[in-house]
Structures are given as structure tokens and as C-alpha cells.
Amino acid sequence: MASSVPRMVGRRLLAALPSIVAVVVVTFLLTRALPGDPAAFFAGPAATPEAVEAIRHSLGLDRPLPVQFASYVAGLARGDFGTSLTTGQPVGAEILQRLPASVELTLAGLVLALLIAVPLGVAAATRPGSWIDHGARVVSTAGVSLPVFFTGLLATYVFYYLLGWAPAPMGRLDLFATAPPTVTGFYLIDSLLARDLEAFRSAFAQLVLPALTLGLFAVAPIARMTRASMLGVLSSDFIRTARASGLSSGKVLFAYALRNALLPVVTTMGMVFSFLLGANVLVEKVFAWPGIGSYAIESLIASDYAPVQGFILTMAILYVLLNLLIDVLYGLIDPRVRIDA
């Protein structure tokens, strides 16, 4: 049994390979479809046709597509994502530097969403048809209808401008705090490691609104799934047996029903992550969050395509890896999947 876990992880890794290949191919094709001639763009408006031709040759743009693809993949394998035209820095390094900000925000949003959605789903499922059930449905339908960029602005207006509770929506730390020394790249963790409570407080205060905005968006799918799967589990035989054996309703609900009901919830996490990573870009723009999403938007505005391409590739690979993680997690929670594998 113990050896089946690594084997299962290995199988899942292999199964994720086609997705990664597909992602790389699509990203490559998207770049080749870019408007305009990159060589002319590099050469500048005053360049002669010969100069443009020379640059095209040095960039390798005059070679056949498969050859270009091979060198593109070889570059990726070396961690070479190209160079940003606006900053002159290698894209890979810039993305790596900004990635922790995005990941910290996404995870905080996910945790908040789970904290709201799972109790909501359980409450709705235990009393179907009650006001709490209807309320949960309205809240979750409203949740998916909210444009995240609009909720973020609204939250800023209420909690920053009107009430003054939240700090200005300007990045990960306020002006007077200094960033903690980088260990994980997550300010919340790094500041605690450095025992810098002032930085922790500042980072936490900056994170609350964006994370809440992002989390609200993910509440709906999780709450709906929790409710549906709780309803299914609560009507099954083993719950009736547990009740008949005189177990307390709390034990039946949380130790028996919820643990089984969470399995389908874990499978929907793939879709939830797709939402979260997309919404992340918009939230980052609203709160001037220095993650890879705002990096991509700044580059888009400047017609600087190497960072955009790097961003899409990073997001897609992150997403594939998250799906892999969910699969593995599912296998760890549910032994039946392991036996099948």
C-alpha cells in the first residue's frame, strides 16, 4: 500500500505531460501570430530594410517554423523566457521575482473562500428549503455574478475612502514598512520568520481586501458543490446507521458526513483555480498588487510581448501543476482511487 502512493504520483505526473506540451505549443503559436513584425519593432522606425533583415536573421525569424519551435523549447528548458523591451531585464527573472506576490494572494483568497463556502454549504444542506438554504443560493449566485474588478473598487471605496479601515490599495506594504528579508517570498511568512511584527501587520492589512475580493468570487462554486455533495451523503445508509447508533449530531455531521462530502469538492477545485488565476489578474490591477498579473498588463499596454508570453506560460504551467496537486491530494484522501491506479 505504501509503495502505491509514489507510483500514483508518478502516473499522474506522466498524465500531466501532454497538457504541458499542449500549453507550450499553443503559447508558441500565439506568439507567432502576434501583430506586426518583431524584427521591425526591435530595429526601430528609422531602420533600413537591410537592418531589419539582419535583425530578423539574428532573431532567427527567417528560419522554418519547426526550427524556431525547437529553439524556443530549448530556450525554455534553459529558463530563457526572452527579454523585456521596456525594462531590459530577462523575463524569467522578473516573473520569478513577482510570482510569490501572486501566489500569496491566490492562496489567501482560496483559504478565505473555503472558510466561507464550506460552512455555508453544510448549513444549506442540513436544512434544505429553509431560509439559510435560499440565502446561501442567493449569496452564491450573486458571488459568481460579481465582476471582481468592480467588487475590488467597491471594497476600496467603502473600507479605504469612507471608513478608513483599510490602507490605500497600493501594493503589498505601506510606504513606511520595509519588506522582510526574502525566504519564501510570502511577506506574511517572511515577516514572521524575521520576527518583524510591524511588517507582518502591514502586509496583512494590505492583503485583506484583495484576498477577500478574490475569495468572494470562488465562494459560489465551492458552496454549491459542498451543498450538493452533503445532501447526497446525508441521505446515505452509513449516516442513518451512525444516527441510529446514537452518535451526536455534530459527530455525524463533521466526522462522518463532511469528510465524505469533501471528496467531490476537491475535484471541483480545478475549476475553482481556473477562476482564481484569471480573476487574480484583475484584482492585481485594482490593488496595484506587484504580481505577475499586473506585470502582464503593464507589458500589454507597452506592446512588450515577451513578458505577456512568459506570463501566459507561467500561469498555464502553474495551473497544470495545481491540477496535478489536486489529483494527488484526491488519491491521498480517497484510498479507492489508489487501488484503481
Partner: protein, 303 residues
Amino acid sequence: MTDTATPAPAPTTAAIAPPLSPAAATLKHIRYVLSENPVTAMSFAGFGIMILLGIFGPLIAPYDPLASDTAAALQPPSGAHWFGTDHLGRDILSRVIVATRLDLTISLAAVILAFVVGSVAGVLAGFHGGVTDRIIGRLVDTIMAFPLFVLAMGIVAALGNTIGNIVLATAVINIPFYVRMARAETNARREAGFVEAARLSGNGTFRILGWHVFPNILPPMMVQVSLNMGYAILNAAGLSFIGLGVRPPTPEWGIMVAEGAGYIVSGEWWIALFPGTVLMLAVFCFNLLGDGLRDIIDPRRRT
């Protein structure tokens, strides 16, 4: 999943079997659902209002949505300008009204495109199976390997900043849902008696698929269309918000929220609030409409 609060069973069964059920029973069921669930009735009304605004918007709008008047810039809502004015003195109410047509057109075009391509691919995959199924499945998996909004960003960034490309990008990220649904529904009917009967009477594959299979999978697909409309509007507005697609002077909800974003921190809330609220209401309306349609078409799927 069995003991959910479902509507009374009698009209339910009548509506599930569409070919035989008399129109009266269906109508009765629709009336039942609408009276039982006032929220659904409201969403139908909201949908009607949106369509009217989309058609007659430019006639109703009190001001020219593009006319700037710097003397009247950044005014809060008043009797003359119900929704206030923006940084160029343009009337926000007029801009919100006129934008309805563009936002609805973009999302409707995208959803129709996704519906047509998705159902054709899904029906073919579900009916033929084998290589066709595997190729189409692979393509769908490729789309789904990306976070969808990020893929839409990439498509618009690569193909160029036009409304047509927003439609295309929004359609592409919605295609997988239609393919999967059409495939599953077709697969379940591939061996059905009526398909067999159609084949034995000498119908060709395309005639069977188009005239016998497709009409049967239409009801669940229509629910998907309605739920998708809200998502498509959100997606298009999100793309405009980050500067992809619709260009600034054009009134469009997402771009209007983006224009108001900078003024939120200095307290001019009305520039972003009104277009944002209307956008939210539109999406909310489509989502409720989808839920309501599902209750009418297939009450068992209610979650």
C-alpha cells in the same frame, strides 16, 4: 441528492418528455415555476428590459454618450445627470444605456459561436467515437489546460485589439463546455430506438444528427447558453477593463469601470459604480435566468 426540495412531481414528468407533452402542460409548468419562484420571474423581466435597452438604447439616452463638456466634468449625480458625469463631462447614464447594445452583442455573438462550434464538435465526437472523439477531446483538453481568462488574454493580445477578437477569445474559452455537454448527451442517445429507427428508414448520418439527435439535446444546451451569457459578459468586460479590446471613447461597461477606477480613491464613486452595478445586474440576471430555465426544463438537476 434525492430529497432536495423539488417542485410537485406531476407537472415535472409532463415537462421532461417534450415530444409527447401537450403544450398546455408545459405552459402550466412554466407558470408554476414562475409563480413558485418570483426570482425567476424577475430575471425574465430583467432580460426583457436589457433587450429593450439594447435595441432602443441610443433613442432613450438623454445625452450624446460621446459628447464631452469639460465645464460639467466630475459632477455627482443630480437632476440633470442622474448618474453624474465623468472626467470629460460625459453623461454616465447615457453611456451606460448605450453600452448595453455593445456588451450584449459581444457576449451573444461569442456564446452563439461557441454554441454552434461546440455542439457540432460535441455531437460528432459523441456519435462517432473513436478517432474523431479522441482528436476533439484532445483539443478541448488543450483549451482547458489554461486558466480560461488568461487564455482569452493571450488570444486577444496575439490576434489584435479588436471587438471581433474579443468575441473570438470569449467563444474559444466557452467551447469546451458545449463540446462536453453535447458529447455526453449524444453518446447517451447513440443507441436509442428513435436513432435506430431513423437509420433504418434510410436517413444519412448528417440527417440523423441534425434532425433527430440535435433537437433532443437542445434543452440542456439552452440552459448552458443562458448560464454562459453571464460568464461571457464578465469575460468581455474584464478584458476591456485591463485595456484589451474595446477602445476608450466607446461606451462599454468594463472600460467605464476602468475609467472610474482612478477616481475611487479620491471619492468620485459614481463614475465606476453605475456601469459596474449595471454589469453586475446583467450577469446576475442571466445566471438566475439559467437557473430558472433549468427548473423549467429539467427540475432534477437543480442544486
